[in-house]
């Protein structure tokens, strides 16, 4: 399937998306066939007239059992194939060397936090949240690990590397949805959910909010930019906050 | 305007009964009033001594089933909240569930409620006592009512004592500093006891209505139904309380 479009879906840019798109395609085809068959049967039943009168015997139940068993087989195939994919994507966490990014939703903006050179996220305190003063996530500046954290409103990821997103929210439930990456996860206050995927095709992908979160729900959008590893490194470099002692640049 | 319903004409059964068979039988439905064994000729509500009672009991049963689901929702929320701790960075289990020591008066309240169940059962039994019911039906005074009413009054008193005891328990908790909003746990304590208490207030209201009904209603059957339904409701609230009490005592 690759870069082909499945019906109306946007092109897929993630590694796992290939399998998902294939599954989606088969499902849509199977269900469309059933839709057409059922309606053809409906019309035929209404239009067709038999020449001889039929006896008043009840039709044998087997006429219904056979299609029912066929349908059960189809549903079972759908369920099993989907579960295998679900297990692969969701049952395990990300690989230990996956890139860590924290995604925070708030009315009506997405923020992305990178741990920086030390690889550790700094502490956050809700009472320190002050977006106009440049601290939208409430970074605790007294924590040494937060000095190199990069907070961005664009999600920049290197192509080909698995990323582990920690999704959280500071006010209401939001929905983190990247159609082009075939990922969706609700951001629930009080919980941090982790999803992982591997962006493989460079490009610009819209990030949408998929859970109604207030009057700005429709405009709560962001961008995912999948770039080459070098571009990603240089982006990181240019965004690393200056340390107070001049180091880090 | 609702349509008037056309009636299909009644027909006299004229089956061919064969040689030497039975004479034709008139099977037209008679207008109202029984007079034979045909269930359908009796107007609804008068088809037997237990028909109305069964119907009201059934209605009460379904209502209590819904009520049970309501309490189950609260109890599930209780368990969910109880187990909502998480593991922090050092694999320590962090939770803000602080088990609540229930005020000891709750034990007395439980005993009082169980006694009140006993007393209302006595009242209910008296009202179904055959000899007394027969006398009432014949119009010879109201011995069943006279025997049952003290028990009903006793139940009302005991129920009120229970509610008073619950109020005292709240005061005791409050004086320890545990109000409705203090901890997660105290939310549930107050919410559960309050919801049960409201149900019990409704029960006491029902008891008072039943007492009045005993003297104002003229049909024996209706008096039985009012007290019977009130009694079953009361018993159910008692059973619910036992479960809630066990929950609050042992499952914190």
């Amino acid at each position: 399937m690759g870069a082909d479009r499945i019906w109306w879906m946007p092109p897929d840019g993630a590694l796992h998306g290939i399998a998902i798109d294939r599954l989606m395609w088969w499902n849509l085809v199977a269900l469309s066939v059933l839709f057409i068959l059922a309606h053809l049967f409906l019309f035929a039943a209404l239009i067709r007239r038999k020449k001889t009168t039929s006896a008043n015997a009840a039709s044998p139940l087997k006429w219904e059992l056979v299609p029912l068993i066929l349908l059960i087989v189809i549903y079972a195939w759908m369920a099993i194939s989907a579960q295998q994919l679900w297990a692969v994507i969701r049952y395990q966490g990300a690989a230990p060397q996956a890139l860590q990014v924290e995604v925070t939703g708030r009315q009506f903006q997405w923020y992305f936090r990178y741990p920086g050179q030390d690889g550790v996220f700094g502490k956050l305190k809700p009472d320190l949240i002050n977006a106009p003063a440049g601290n939208p996530l409430g970074l605790d500046r007294t924590d040494p690990h937060s000095a190199d954290d990069i907070v961005s409103s664009v999600l920049v990821l290197p192509a080909g590397r698995e990323v582990d997103l920690g999704i959280r929210s500071i006010d209401v439930i939001h929905g983190f949805f990247i159609p082009g990456m075939r990922v969706k996860q609700n951001a629930v206050p009080g919980m941090e959910m982790h999803i992982h995927f591997t962006p493989s095709v460079p490009g610009d992908y819209p990030i949408l909010c998929s859970q109604v979160c207030g009057s700005g729900h429709a405009r709560m959008q962001a961008h995912l930019r999948v770039v080459s590893t070098e571009e990603y490194q240089s982006w990181l470099m240019s965004h690393t906050p200056l340390q107070s002692d001049g180091a880090g640049q | 305007m609702p349509a008037t319903f056309t009636r299909t004409p009644a027909e006299i059964d004229r089956k061919d009964t064969g040689i030497g068979g039975k004479p034709p039988v008139d099977r037209r439905p008679t207008g109202g009033g029984g007079g034979d064994d045909n269930w359908d000729n009796h107007p609804q509500g008068r088809r037997g001594p237990r028909e109305l009672l069964t119907r009201y009991r059934l209605g009460l049963f379904f209502g209590l089933a819904g009520d049970l689901m309501f309490f189950i929702a609260l109890v599930s929320a209780f368990f969910v909240r109880q187990n909502a701790g998480h593991f922090d960075l050092r694999d320590n289990y962090v939770s803000d569930w602080h088990p609540l020591a229930i005020p000891p008066i709750l034990w007395i309240n439980t005993a009082v409620l169980l006694l009140s169940s006993l007393s209302i059962e006595m009242a209910r039994q008296h009202l179904f006592h055959e000899v007394d019911v027969m006398e009432e039906w014949l119009g010879l005074g109201r011995p069943a009512v006279r025997r049952a009413s003290p028990w009903l009054i006793a139940t009302t008193v005991l129920g009120s004592l229970f509610l008073l005891g619950q109020w005292i328990a709240w005061q005791q908790l409050s004086s320890q500093g545990l109000n409705f909003t203090t901890t997660q746990n105290s939310h549930f304590f107050y919410l559960i006891t309050a919801v049960h208490g409201i149900h019990l207030i409704l029960g006491i209201l029902a008891l008072m209505i039943a007492l009045c009904a005993l003297f104002l209603l003229r049909r024996v059957e209706m008096r039985q139904i009012v007290v019977d339904c009130t009694a079953w409701y009361w018993h159910t609230m008692g059973i619910f309380w036992i479960f809630l009490f066990v929950l609050l005592t042992c499952f914190q």
Partner: protein, 559 residues
Amino acid sequence: MMRRWPFTTDHRAIAIAYLLLSLFAVAVGTVLSVFMRIHIIAPNLKLPFWGVVPPEGYLALVTMHGTLMVFFVLTTAPVNGLASLVLPAQIGARRMALPLLNAAGFWLTTLSLIVLLSAFFVPGGAPISGWTNYPPLSAIAAAGPGQATGMDLWLVSIGIFCLASILSSINLLTTIISKRCSGMTLMRMPLTIWAWLVTAILIVFAFSILLAAVVMLLSDRHFATSFFVPPGEVIDGALVALHANGSPMLWLHLFWFFGHPEVYIAILPAMGLTSSLLANFTRRPVFGYGFMVTTTVAIGLLGLMVWGHHMFVSGMNPYAGTAFALTTMAIAVPSSAKVLGWLAMLWRGRDSRVHPLPTPMLFTLGFLSFFITGGLTGPILAQPVLDAYLHNTYFVVAHFHLIMAMAGMFSLFAAIYYWFPLMTGRLMSEAMGKWHFWLSLIGAYGTFFPMHFAGLAGLPRHYAQLTGSTSTLGSLLPLQTGITHSALFLATAQLLFLINIVWSTLRGQPAGSNPWRATTMEWSPVEKGCMVVYGPYEYRFDGNSEDFVPQRVLETEQE
């Protein structure tokens, strides 16, 4: 001896009152949806009452549209309205078991509707969190416009509605169990009664849970508890007053434990009616009566076990997601079995069906079509990995509108056209009915089918506008424009229905006692005595005659 109208406990009068209430609710809900559709494609157009609709106005429209339609149309009309009309007669009773409860249910429902609609007129307006009202958005008044008084009114209204539904269901259950006339065994009940039986049980279970959830949310909002709100909430830059460790997931579980049975509550009576009407108009008994009963009960039972499929990406444990996916796929089996049974009835009855097909039968066929179309997208949504893409997109909107709104509504239309003679003694106009059917069918498919494509393109629900920093949404504007035009067409077609009702009440053709030559007993109610000997669908067909044996026999057949 009918008492003066407001105090009546006569079930037929209450039924008409319920149906009129639902008619009012569906009219308001439809107007709201038309406003929504217009706003999506023309956000700067001035609409009545709002002027230019602000984003929160759009969300208020969505919330109230969903609430009105799901509760006051799809729960009230098929269950309370239609059951009050025909249930006693269909089981051979003269009245309901607990008529006061029936009346109380109606008045509480009316009160609930008034409280709900008043949310539009309070400061802040109606709530904006969707009919599902996830906290913390619905728990904190500062989280959005309309979330203060408007949200409280919504909660109070729905709390009253829960009570009303539970009371009515107690009445229905007691009636079905205790007031069947002699000979009316469980396996001789019409399938509509079976449907109401299972539905009433679902109502008692599901609405009690919703009531508990509503009470807890009100408590969070006004008594400073934290069932649903975690600590550290920052709204509008201000730290919300300290909450202990609540969980929004608790609301999701409680709400959807109610919410999924709710949709089965909306559709089961329609399924029972479809079986009955297909039997009536193909002049054949129902295909596999016992089988149909089993599938009805199975759907009811399984319906209580699938609620997690609304929550696959909500933060629920992925293993739980698998479990719910399996139960959800399982419930596709009895539903498909029912559809196959209905198709078999159509196939079998092709020589015998009434000519030409009267309007109730047309709408039943429409129900079948919508149920198939909407139902077929269910298995896709039941797979968590695919639902992870489609959740909360227009694909889901298409799914539930086709199966709940259109199939459910078509079944309601069929019921009204069918039972209109019971209410007024007249038949509805066939000509207008046929136009209504065809225009609605075309309009409905035109409105909801393209939404599948918008969903596949990734368009989320509840979006007031198609703009934003990403361009992909704007490209869907032509599609959305087509949908809006079709929706306007569909809404206008419903005027035919309203005109038909009024005209037929005044000047419709008189109907006679059993215009559809049906076997079920609501067409031959008798004031005294009833003995049932036959099954409910003893349509006999030989050659081309339309013979049938009514279920009620006045004379007992004894040797």
